[in-house]
Every structure is written in C-alpha cells, then in structure tokens.
Symmetry: C2
Subunit: 135 residues, 2 copies
DNA sequence: AAATTTGTAACATATTTTATTACAGTATGA
DNA sequence: TCATACTGTAATAAAATATGTTACAAATTT
C-alpha cells in the first residue's frame, strides 16, 4: 500500500479520536473507509509500531489511541506513512556518460528536499485534534 | 505516464537548454534519460501544446526551446506535468453515512490545497536556467 | 465452550506505468 | 528523386504496484 496510506491512517486516527475511550474494531473502521478490514489492520499494525495506538485481541477487542489527539500532529502521521513527497523520477538509471543524466537525480533530490521542508512545516502546525474538529 | 512526468520533462528541458540553437532528436534525448523514444516524444508533444518547444519533422529534425530558459520556471513545468501534489486518498468512496467518511476527502482536499500553495511558491522561485546551471 | 476479534501469510485481481512495435507523414541532401 | 532520418501517433504488450480476498491460528470475553 502506498498511495492511500496517509489518507487511510488519517481516517483511522480521526475515527479513534472521536471515541477515545472505546476499542473500535477493524471491521467498523473498514466500514467507514470502505476498505477491506485486513488492510485496516495492516495500517493499525504500523500505528502500533509507532506507539500511537494499542489493540486488544479477542471478543470486544479493537484499537484505541494511546495519547490525546492534541499530541499527535499530521507531521507525525506523515512520517509514519510516507517516505518523502517527490514529483517523481524517471524509472531507469539515466545515462552516466551524459552530464545531465549523471546529475539529474541528485539535483531533483535537492529540489524535492526543499519541497519537503515546506510540507513538513505546514503539517507540523496541524494536530489530529484540529483536523478532527473539522468533522 | 504519471510518476515520471515531471522528472522526465525537466530532464528534456534541461538538455534543450544546454543546446538552445540545435534541434535535438527524441532518440538522443531518450539516450540520456534511458527511456523509450516514443515516451520522450509524448512528453515533447505535451511541451508543444504548452508552447514551450517546437519540433521539426524529417531528417535532421528534432526539438528545441521556444523561449530562453530564464523565462521558464519549474512551476511552469509542474503545471504542465502534474495535477496537484497530494498525500493520497483511499481508493473507494468512503461511507456517506459516517460523519467522518462523509467529509474526509473534503478535509484532505483542504489540507492538500495548503500544501500545494507552499510547493507552488517554492517552484516559482527556480527557473530552468537556475536548474540547468547546476549541471 | 461459543463467539468475536486481532495478526498475518499467501494468493488473486485490478490498476497504473512503462515499453514495444508498427507505420504513415515530413524534410534533407546526395 | 530516392534513400535516409526524423516526428507523430495508435495499438498492443509487459511490468510494476496497489488493492482485495481467503484462510486460519491465537487471544479474549461472556
């Protein structure tokens, strides 16, 4: 899963933030996202690895937040679900005998690094609580 | 072509900017990018549509810039090759009976719009000439 | 003990990207 | 004027990636 990871994780966390004391099941969450529950559990697995949620197995089990929504930023979610934003690369290795081919990816990297700085700054200003309050 | 469009087009334009008076063939350009010439011609077709380059058919034909590299910004390239940057959406339509599902995409859109503003601002500060001078 | 849920692997399908082939049309220049 | 070297574009194929499904062991509740 790549393209939907941030959106799905943000959706999951928004739901959890609405019921901070309940364990929500992957099936319930999947019903809101309209996604297979197995994929929801995979993203939750990632969130657990990052100590943002905890799960309880068995009957009446599910997942809940480990900390208040005010202490989670969208930048945190971004870091858990995205490598970096980029505007793409050509798939194949460019010609190393061409001055442009030799350095194109390096120079794109510099550009993309600048872009990511701006994005990170933006995302760090929004908490899950802020985001969730829009609903 | 989605993922490589910006990178490939930037690569093409960088090459053209190095030889502003020559018609470069799609085969030559493809050799630097290590990409099929047909795909290069497709991107060039897009550049022509945007009046950034012109092509000449026939023997000794090829493509060259229609204006100086100092008058083309990376934002121009971005607009020709990207819709908008986003951090993804879940693939399926979310549940409209859930308050979160109903508004998640709308709220993600707002967030992504903010991100795009920052990216646009950044890209508008770099000309093709600036970029090309790094090589 | 029965029911419900997570965790995870294995596999299947769908979608998107990239590559290839083919060939008509155009310009050059020997 | 004919061979050559290009562009333009459509059609198709292959590869890569994303998403979906099935299956089932393990955990917990009632």
């Amino acid at each position: 899963m790549i393209s939907g990871k941030f959106a799905i994780t943000t959706h999951i966390l928004t739901l959890l933030s609405k019921f901070p004391n309940d364990y929500l099941s992957s099936e319930y969450i999947a019903g809101s996202i309209n996604l297979n529950p197995v994929l929801v559990r995979k993203e939750i697995s990632n969130l657990k690895k990052n100590h943002v949620v905890e799960s309880k197995e068995g009957k009446n089990g599910g997942t809940r937040l480990l900390k208040p929504a005010s202490e989670i930023t969208l930048l945190d979610i971004f870091k858990m679900t995205f490598d970096t934003v980029n505007l793409g690369y050509a798939k194949n290795q460019p010609n190393p005998d061409c001055p442009v081919g030799k350095k194109i990816n390096e120079n794109l990297d510099l550009l993309y690094a600048d872009i990511n700085e701006k994005i990170n700054a933006q995302l760090s200003t929004v908490t899950l609580e802020n985001f969730s309050n829009q609903f």
